[in-house]
Symmetry: C2
Subunit: 475 residues, 2 copies
């Protein structure tokens, strides 16, 4: 890569939106888990779809690798340069493309640019008395372009679906610089191949999502949240089924938390308090929304809790008495990842299995991990209603962080093997990025990887879009 080419890129966005200084580049290179350290000659911050188009067009002409980056909150190294990847990977920051282009309360849609922060979108929806349900721990900094590119999940998937289900249309810049205007606002549109869902979850390897039409929902009239203590995952599964039958689509959250996760959360996060008088091996958080009233949500919750208590499935429970308490209950769950940090290093897996298999998954994964690392502190929590468990393993008390993390591939493989054998996924909601690329290729049928390679080659023959992420063309 010559200086001349870099100057041509810089000229597209202008000097004030080009970053070349090493110190200024650092925040774009450092990702949340600190696992991928690679250089980049430049960050470009385009201010329009047209500038993105010019950048990609030049990238294809010059064979320059481009790494799209939104809020830089991804967990699998998809948004930072590939370690030992091609020379001169330029980071394309989407953060300046942050306009809400259009809101349509009547049609329940909003058109947003890729760099809009998720919380900003929540606010824009609230301003027109609507709700955008996508809810993540990182919502204060993640951006919708990244959510779309990874098909982000979060805590509201049970009732509202993944990001894919919340998107109606896309605007995408292709590697050649051509702009696909697929900003449709239709619930039904059977007109050829599903390009939208191909770009969603492609992690920026097929093109750059620059804008999207997202689906809004009415704000529920009432909401209730409860936390209960349980003895086993099996009991939690039984309560989940009761809740699902009793509430249908009104069941808007069902989270499972291991006792130690609750312990970390209340010990390490200021303001978090123990929800119940005693400690339990397992906790569940149930969230119910009613389109009718607070009372209706409350009634449904009471019914479930009383039924579960009578059957001996839950040992104790508490229903939130106020909006503040509802928030506090969710806070216990949402800070669990942060609460693990003061406990040292954590080997993290984001797996999913068929819902009915969760108890068996937990039992087998525990056996495999504790056999290999007897004093590991398994700290699992996740979205039970989606079959999605964040199966995290904190370092042993008094152990060394580096020694713990040195075993992460070995330990992860044990967990992945259990999940895979049950028909599960090695990445439920975080994506593949650079972290899980080779594992994916090892686990899946060769024909599946081959089909992905064919798509990649058909869309990006010069292989400039986030090269080496998701699939390896050379592999």
């Amino acid at each position: 890569m010559t200086e001349d080419i870099l100057d041509q890129f810089a000229a597209i966005v202008g000097a004030q939106y080009t970053i070349r200084d090493e110190n200024d580049l650092a925040p774009y290179l450092k990702e949340p888990r600190g696992l991928y350290n690679e250089n980049s000659p430049m960050v470009l911050k385009p201010g329009s779809t047209e500038e993105v188009s010019e950048i990609l067009s030049l990238a294809t002409k010059t064979g320059t690798p481009i790494v799209p980056q939104a809020g830089n909150t991804g967990h699998v190294g998809g948004q930072v340069p590939l370690v030992d990847g091609p020379h001169g990977q330029i980071i394309l920051s989407m953060s300046r493309l942050n306009r809400v282009r259009e809101t349509d309360a009547a049609g329940n849609t909003m058109t947003v640019e890729a760099g809009c922060v998720l919380e900003t979108i929540h606010q824009a929806a609230a301003d027109i008395n609507r709700m955008f349900p996508l809810t993540l721990g990182s919502q204060g900094s993640c951006e919708i372009g990244g959510n779309l590119s990874t098909n982000a999940g979060g805590t509201a998937v049970l009732a509202y679906g993944n990001t894919r289900q919340l998107c109606l249309g896309l605007e995408v810049v292709l590697p050649t610089g051509e702009i696909w205007n697929g900003l449709r606002r239709l619930k039904k549109d059977n007109t050829g191949y599903d390009l939208r869902d191909l770009f969603i979850g492609a992690e920026g390897t097929l093109g750059v999502i620059t804008a999207a039409v997202i689906k809004l929902h009415p704000i529920p009239a009432g909401n209730q949240v409860a936390i209960a203590g349980l003895e086993s995952v099996n009991d939690a599964l039984s309560v989940f089924r009761m809740a699902q039958e009793a509430c249908g689509g009104a069941l808007t959250g069902f989270e499972l938390m291991q006792g130690i996760a609750m312990e970390f959360s209340t010990r390490n996060i200021p303001g978090n308090r123990k929800p119940l008088a005693n400690d339990y091996d397992w906790y569940i958080l149930i969230d119910i929304s009613s389109s009718q009233s607070e009372d209706d949500a409350d009634r449904m919750m009471q019914t479930i809790m009383e039924g579960a208590f009578e059957k001996g499935l839950i040992k104790d429970a508490v229903l939130a008495q106020s909006e503040a308490q509802r928030t506090a209950f969710w806070q216990l769950r949402e800070t669990m990842s942060a609460a693990q940090k003061p406990e040292g290093a954590s080997i993290k897996q984001d797996v999913s299995v068929p819902i009915a298999a969760i108890p068996e998954f937990m039992a087998q994964a525990d056996r495999a991990v504790l056999n290999a690392m007897p004093d590991a502190r398994i700290c699992a929590f996740g979205h039970m209603g989606d079959g999605n468990i964040h199966y995290n393993i904190s370092q042993p008390v008094g152990g060394e962080s580096d020694a713990h993390m040195a075993r992460r591939h070995e330990i992860s493989d044990l967990v992945y093997a259990v999940a895979t054998q049950m028909g599960g996924s090695i990445s439920a909601e975080h994506g593949i990025g650079q972290m899980k690329r080779d594992r994916l290729a090892a686990i899946r049928q060769p024909i599946e990887i081959d089909l992905m390679r064919r798509i990649k080659t058909a869309f990006d023959p010069a292989n400039i879009m986030n090269p080496g992420k998701v699939i390896d063309l050379q592999g």
Copy 2:
């Protein structure tokens, strides 16, 4: 195509499952609307995924075009040979692949083969106290492989989504004969490109879907159906918004019907009776499901109806008093397509627009059509909650069927132009097939059609899978 090659194909499935006699071939060549008359040398009826694999492998080797066919209920000629298409198009009937492979009530999934009739699937779900929500007029004969290949819609999309949203995993035979086992049962799985959604809606042009994991839902505890008479589409839209805010996910149907459609339905279908004492320009059918109780569904319906009546949005309404009456109300709507037949030929359009644009779409489309054909009988009905209108035009009273249908392209283009200009779709739920292929290419950005061509070429380089449907590689 030599006799020898045909014999090789026949040998794969055996003589008793090979049809070569002209009379026996006829039912596979004749589609519901009688629009496409083309020949085929042979129908093959494989009994296993492996036989499908052998057939496609031989087809790729010999360059033989294959037309997959499920229940043969499609409206756009996708499931019958392409008129003036390549020589010797063999029909691959999926109807013998009709096993329910697995039911999982706990996990709310079912694994079904492509040739399962939709109604059989409904029954298998009911047998384990679950529901498969996909509901179509043709459910007694359409097969799930066709539903998946066209991403079929129907009357339950509002709450449960299109077929795409009801499918978790697929088994697909590729043109080479390779079998992709993507029969996953996961709600969350972010592991690479979304192959599943690419095959769904591809109308058999990328491979043959042989089996699928479909999502089941709990059977609602209560249900209520009402029909109301209104003066305008605008009023219907207002009632829709009230119902959506009042019921959220409990609103399981919202159908719009023009007065003439109700007139045809009650006049031409034995057993159908006028739902209200007087006649109205417009009718709506509202369906509400409650996870709690019959009373709850009834209460929600009462609230909506009273509110709409007070605001003068509806002029009269009737709530079903029994399960039989609920069925009878739905029957009025579901037989509307059949009820048009005795009125002569009909030019049919299956369009969608953003929901808020429906009144304006109706006004503009009516103006355009009546300007071109002053005595046309516009008979529109459809899924208001999805923005999907079946905008049908019955021949003038006393007119000639042939003369009416001779103008179908001209008239359809008028309607498509109105829908397209509003950001709508020319095929909301029926797909593209051979009917709308060239129109799609004319309406969409060249880059969109080009991306579809690249996918087709990447998956089916020999162009043997349903060639000439959806996109034209030569075009």
